[in-house]
Amino acid sequence: MEDLIDSLTRGNPTEVKVVLASVVTALAVYQLVLIAVGYGKLRPPFLGARPASLAHRASGDAIVAITVVVAVMCLSYYGFEEGDKALHMVAGTALLVALALKVAVVRRLHGLSRYLPMIGITVFALLVLTWVSSAGQFLADR
C-alpha cells in the first residue's frame, strides 16, 4: 500500500495529503453557508433553500470521498503515531466516526434527523481541528 501511495503521489504523499485536506476544509466552510441557506437562516436572493440543500448533499458526498482517501493515505503511510501527532490522530478518528454517523442519519436513521445540525457542526469542528493539527502546521512551517 505504501508503494502504491508513493507511486500515485510521485513521492509526495504529505504534500498531496495537505492539498486534499485543505480542499476538504475549504469545502466544509462552503457547506456551512449552503446549509444555512438550506435551513433558511440565510436568505440570499440568488439561491433558494432547495438547491442549496441539494448542493450541500452533493459536495458533502465529495467531502466524504476525499476524506476517506486522505484517511487511508494517512493510516497506511504513517500509521498510528504517538507523541506530537496524538491530537491529530484523535481528531481524525473522531471525525471519521462523526462522518459515518452523519451519513447513517442522512441515509438510514431518519428518526435522528433532528440531531443533524449538531452532528454537522461536530463534523465541521473535528475537520478543522484535524486540518489545523497537521496540514495547517505543515503549511505554517513552510
Binding site: 513521492g11 504534500e15 492539498v19 480542499v23 475549504a26 438547491p51 452533493a58
Partner: protein, 73 residues
C-alpha cells in the same frame, strides 16, 4: 424562468462555486508548498549528480590525455 429550471440553475451555480473553491485552494496550497516537493528535490539532486559526474569524467579524460602526452616520446 419556471421554478424547476430556476432550481436547476441555482444548483448548477452552487456546484460551480464549489468547483471554483476547489481550484482556488489547489492553486493556493500548491503555490505555498512551492517547488520543494520530494519529487522536485530528487530531480534537482539527480541533475546535480549528473553535472558532477560529467565534470569528473571531463577531468579524468583531461588527466588521461595529459598522461598520454607526457608518456609519448
Amino acid at each position: 424562468m419556471d421554478g424547476a429550471r430556476l432550481n436547476i440553475a441555482q444548483l448548477i451555480g452552487s456546484l460551480v462555486v464549489a468547483a471554483a473553491i476547489v481550484a482556488v485552494v489547489i492553486v493556493a496550497v500548491t503555490a505555498k508548498l512551492g517547488p520543494t516537493s520530494t519529487a522536485e528535490l530528487e530531480a534537482r539532486e539527480e541533475a546535480r549528480d549528473a553535472r558532477i559526474d560529467a565534470r569528473e569524467e571531463r577531468l579524468e579524460q583531461r588527466e588521461e590525455r595529459r598522461e598520454d602526452r607526457t608518456e609519448a616520446p
